[in-house]
Amino acid sequence: MSKQYETVIGLEVHVELATKTKIFCGCSTAFGGAPNTHTCPVCTGMPGSLPVLNKQVVEYAMAVGLATNCEINQFCKFDRKNYFYPDNPQNYQISQLYLPICHDGGIEIETAAGKKVIGIHEIHMEEDAGKLIHDEWDDCTLVDYNRSGVPLIEIVSEPDMRSAEEVIAYLDKLRLIVQYLGASDCKLQEGSMRADVNLSVREVGAEKFGTRTEMKNLNSFKAIARAIEGERARQIELLEEGRAVVQETRRWDDNKEYSYPMRSKEDAHDYRYFPDPDLVPVVISDEWLQAVKDRQPELRTEKLERYRKEFDIPQYDAEILTGAKKMADLFEETTALCGKPKKVSNWLMGETLRLLKEEGAEPDALAFSPEHLAKLIELTDAGTINQTVAKEVFEKIFREDIDPERYVEEHGLRMVSDEGLLRAVVEQVIAANPQSVADYRGGKDRVLGFLVGQTMKQMKGKANPGAVNQLLRELL
């Protein structure tokens, strides 16, 4: 009988914080500037420059720590992690080793197997590194320090996960928490959230952990799931062949679905951490901690509960709406304007999700204003436009955030209910479709829909469908 193996996974998640400036200098963190235009002597590691801590970084780190049930170290400080690589101009990264800001927390995840708490070992603050671009032409490397010094928090989990499913559930939950706090947009593709996977396997029932590897370069949930499956299989194969797993850092190649050891010529893994003498300790008073606690926004679990009480919408809808901060914000803001939660939910759950799917976009990409959706709902409810036109106008709102009122006027899309006008068109349609008329009279009720459609077409979709129906029944 073959052996049964268990996968043991811990994650190191790096999150880029949503501050306007870098962690230790007043340079902008804006994404996409021309190379090195957001740099100064501090973030390019010039001798004699002095880092000064961005207070907002401490507040975001505290907020994430509180939301993930961590203890806050009210006395914390920064240390230097020494390594030589051109993305790191100081030859050390400022991080926290001895007294990280948060420790011993955990979040609850839910998978098909039920609920489970994943422990959080610690959360620390640190700075990001610059970006290296390989120049094929001159066979050299170009360094852009715009990202050097962008604030990060690293969230280190306990080795509590046992499957890709649990890992995804944990990341999803963590991402939602951080997004709800406004501490980061957490976009895996753009690198504002990055996960390194520490994985080992052991025989079921074994007490000791197996030797683990660390996998990097995972930039989507799907890649993470595939990398976990791939690495698990690789390690089991080694063990079955009687060979040992080597503790090393591996790079996942999502196209080849295989991980490769990262070449680490002089990587001695000896970072010689020591306290950074340029930075003084951070003391978090009880008052400061309380102030951050009082400012914590409503998180998803509480929001779900409130939606259930406040709005008459199905549980399923509430779960989808609160599943992305952007959707929940749009829902609440639009509802506040028009007071019709059910209708707002319908537009978001229906057309919005459909159009997002069509474009392969995430809810974060939604850019229309709640005012315009609220107006559209009012226009439809007042009978100014019919449902067909409303869908067409919504697509315009979704893509270009147009003002529906003005758009309807400019394009003459008001619903036509004028009986005289509609009667004339319906008569025309009846005259033009003798076969359908005969079928209807012969008992084929379904043909009515076709005739309504023909009338609508003549009216460019603007007719009052109720009135058309009634007229057709009357005239046939």
Binding site: T19, K20, T21, C25, G26, C27, S28, A34, P35, N36, T37, H38, T39, C40, P41, T44, M46, V52, L53, N54, K55, Q56, V58, F75, K77, N82, F84, Y85, P86, L99, L132, I133, H134, D135, D138, D139, C140, T141, L142, V143, D144, Y145, R251, M262, R263, E266, A268, D270, R272, P275, P277, L279, V280, P281, V282, V283
Partner: protein
């Protein structure tokens, strides 16, 4: 001198610090580091039980900046410090992951 530094240790510390030392310099470094460790041993003789470990030599804490952009684009000036420049970037020898 109580603390004797082995050749291997000096070699290793040299690699970590990216220093290439001559035989003479290695001997000198062994002496220097040995004396530093002797000094630490001396300090360790002190009874520090009940003394809170120090985190910083100045009795100062909570020096912060507000999250406001204060720096503009000073690229040209900064790049004057680069040994080589290309396309607005610092040019370095090829790095391989």
């Amino acid at each position: 001198m109580a603390n004797l530094i082995s050749d291997e240790t000096i070699e290793y510390v040299g690699i970590l610090a990216k220093l290439e030392l001559s035989e003479e310099e290695k001997e000198q470094a062994k002496q220097d580091i040995g004396r530093m460790l002797d000094y630490v041993d001396k300090l360790n003789e002190l009874d520090t039980s009940g003394v809170e470990p120090m985190s910083h030599i100045f009795p100062v804490h909570n020096v912060f900046r507000d999250d406001v952009v204060t720096n503009g684009d000073d690229r040209d000036n900064l790049l004057k410090n680069a040994p080589k420049v290309k396309d607005g970037s610092w040019q370095v020898p090829k790095t391989v992951e």
